[in-house]
């Protein structure tokens, strides 16, 4: 016995000494990735942090002048920027609420004996895999007031969706709900199928109402996964750019990413846009923190 163990150990150390040591392999495997991310994500952010304190304009050759906190002060006092944030908030609330209602609702229905369940689930998941920009563009035809299929199907006549300042944001949100409800559905379905069957059986024996069963058994057990879906979608909706940018050019749909894009690449206020980017970034990091916390919580289960 003892000799066997000895030879094993011996072989192992010999093998290890022939090749690279574990520590150098670890470093070889991990460090390039970390460096890559630092060079192409963190370094650019430091670069723009510097510009956010200047009046730099990338469209001219004029050198950047240091202006201190002026950009931040002006942005935070600018009512138009705040209205962009308000539009973003409205968009987030409408589209995430819609996605949760539709996604969770469909998941509840799918969590039964449904024929062709696998096929139906796969088909329902298709929209979220497609390109927002390219499919979003096609929704322009669907929303068209004169020959759009949506108006025809709903009998709305020549109702304006995208050209209507009041409706445009909802139209973008509806398309977003179409694309991303499947995401909420997918995660909810995972949560629902993980609820132990015996809990429902116990509730049935106790003659618990379906209302009680839902709020006391289903919802609490699905909540952590549902939270992941909600936080992730909130974060994505907050950053939204493609759909709103392609579908409309209404001032009422100018979410913060579009404002940022215009400020940086159309008005060429590079310094100011870097400052705005930082304000947005801080908000995103805050949401990311909450998201990762929930992600780890679910992982530990």
């Amino acid at each position: 016995m003892a000799t066997a163990v000895m030879t094993t150990l011996d072989q192992r150390t010999r093998a290890a000494s022939r090749g690279m040591s574990d520590i150098s392999i670890r470093n070889l495997f991990i460090i390039p990735t970390i460096l890559f991310l630092i060079v192409f994500n963190i370094f650019p952010l430091l670069y723009s942090l510097y510009y956010s304190f200047t009046d730099f304009r990338a469209s001219t050759n004029a050198p950047a002048n240091f202006v201190g906190l002026q950009n931040y002060r002006e942005l935070l006092n600018d009512p138009f920027i705040w209205s962009n944030f308000a539009i973003t908030a409205q968009y987030v609330i409408v589209s995430v609420t819609g996605q949760v209602l539709v996604g969770f609702g469909v998941a509840m229905l799918l969590n039964r004996d449904i024929p062709f369940k696998g096929l139906i689930t796969t088909l329902l998941l298709l929209p979220m895999m497609l390109s927002m920009a390219v499919v979003g563009l096609f929704w322009k035809l669907l929303y068209d007031p004169s020959w759009g299929v949506i108006n025809y199907a709903l009998g709305l006549g020549n109702f304006e969706w995208l050209a209507n300042p009041k409706m445009a944001l909802y139209a973008v949100a509806i398309t977003d709900i179409w694309m991303w409800s499947p995401f909420v559905m997918l995660l909810s379905l995972a949560g629902l199928s993980a609820v132990p069957k015996h809990l429902y059986e116990a509730a049935a024996i106790d003659r618990a109402g379906s209302f009680y069963t839902f709020f006391r058994i289903t919802l609490p057990l699905v909540a952590p996964i549902l939270m992941i879906a909600i936080i992730f979608r909130t974060m994505e909706a907050f950053k939204t750019f493609d759909l709103a940018y392609i579908l409309t050019s209404q001032p009422t749909t100018e979410v913060i990413s579009i404002r940022l894009y215009k400020m940086a690449f159309q008005e060429w206020q590079t310094g100011r846009s870097c400052a705005l980017a930082y304000i947005v970034l801080i908000m995103v990091i805050a949401i990311t923190n909450i998201y990762v916390k929930y992600l780890n919580k679910v992982k530990e289960r």
Partner: protein
């Protein structure tokens, strides 16, 4: 959920089936509409009531790939007879195919944008999945100081809004001449997908028992040999799933491509919307371009169906 099913429960189940079918049809309707419009003659694309039954045509795809101009006068019968079948389809639409001085057919912008999309998506996927697999193995098998913090750092890079990263990247790329190049986009997409690939691959590698490599080490393999000969084959499914996810993300990406490219390296997502422009767009051609662009993703989604949940939750939820 009781063993004996009551009448009301069966009715409820039937009701659920009907609702699910209706919802599925609504969700698929826009995709169906893209597909059907891609095969419609132009005059049937925008009719009221919408045209559902029609004789499918291939002409939108011919128009998609060729550069066309308005016909000033109808083609002579000889011209028409001499033209290949696909050129006649363009004639029928009141247009002609633009040819160079040597008579070569001029292509539209679409094929080159499609190629750009392929080059950028495939290269960045290979890089992100390659690096991600190594890194995931490193995190999975070795003690790393501050592992949780590093993993959070890696994930957080994915959460950065594209427009925020794009501003400094644009300035840096302009300084080194990477604007409007394939490599410019490839680097951005690799960075964007790398974090995802590390997280997902770590989940897959964590599932491979450590004992496999330990046995190999005992048999005299080096750690590197064990990684390549034991771990990689075991992780093949995970690598494939991760690659498909990365490919789809890069393939669909819009904001970076819009900002960083304009012609030479432009990918399809910013190109297709730019074709709508002003006036009355030919929706059949846009639908044809959209259809071809969506096709690979639709196929991949089908292949990936069992891994979607895992990918979408960054590997946190396993089925």
């Amino acid at each position: 959920m009781a063993a004996v099913r009551t009448g009301s429960e069966i009715a409820l189940n039937r009701f659920a089936v009907v609702i699910v079918l209706i919802v599925t049809l609504i969700f698929l309707a826009p995709i169906y509409w893209i597909t059907s419009t891609a095969f419609k003659p132009r005059n049937l694309a925008t009719t009221i009531p919408p045209t559902v039954v029609f004789e499918p045509e291939i002409s939108p795809f011919v128009k998609l790939f060729t550069k066309r101009a308005q016909l000033r006068s109808a083609p002579t019968p000889e011209e028409y007879a001499a033209a290949p079948w696909w050129e006649r389809l363009v004639f029928d639409g009141g247009e002609k195919v633009v040819r160079s001085g040597k008579g070569e057919v001029q292509l539209s912008g679409y094929p080159s944008r499609f190629m750009n999309s392929l080059i950028v998506a495939i290269t960045s996927t290979v890089l992100a999945v390659g690096m991600g697999t190594f890194t995931a193995y490193g995190f999975s098998r070795f003690k790393v100081k501050g592992e949780q913090d590093l993993l959070f750092f890696i994930l957080s890079t994915r959460m950065l809004p594209p427009v925020v990263v794009a501003i400094p990247m644009f300035l840096m790329y302009r300084a080194v001449g990477l604007n409007d190049t394939h490599w410019g986009l490839i680097i951005l997409y690799t960075a964007f997908n790398l974090s995802f690939s590390v997280w997902l691959m770590k989940g897959f590698i964590d599932e491979i028992p450590k004992e496999y490599e330990e046995a190999a080490l005992v048999d005299g393999y080096t750690r590197m040999e064990a990684f390549f000969k034991i771990v990689l084959p075991e992780a093949a499914t995970g690598i494939a799933a991760t690659a498909v996810f990365c490919f789809i993300t890069a393939w669909n990406e819009y904001a970076f491509a819009l900002i960083m490219t304009n012609r030479r390296a432009q990918t399809a997502p910013p190109f297709i919307p730019s074709q709508v422009g002003s006036g009355l767009p030919d929706w059949t051609v846009i639908a044809a371009g959209t259809f071809l662009f969506l096709l690979p993703v639709a196929i991949f989604t089908f292949l990936l169906r069992n891994h979607l949940l895992r990918g979408m939750s960054f590997g946190a939820i396993r089925k």
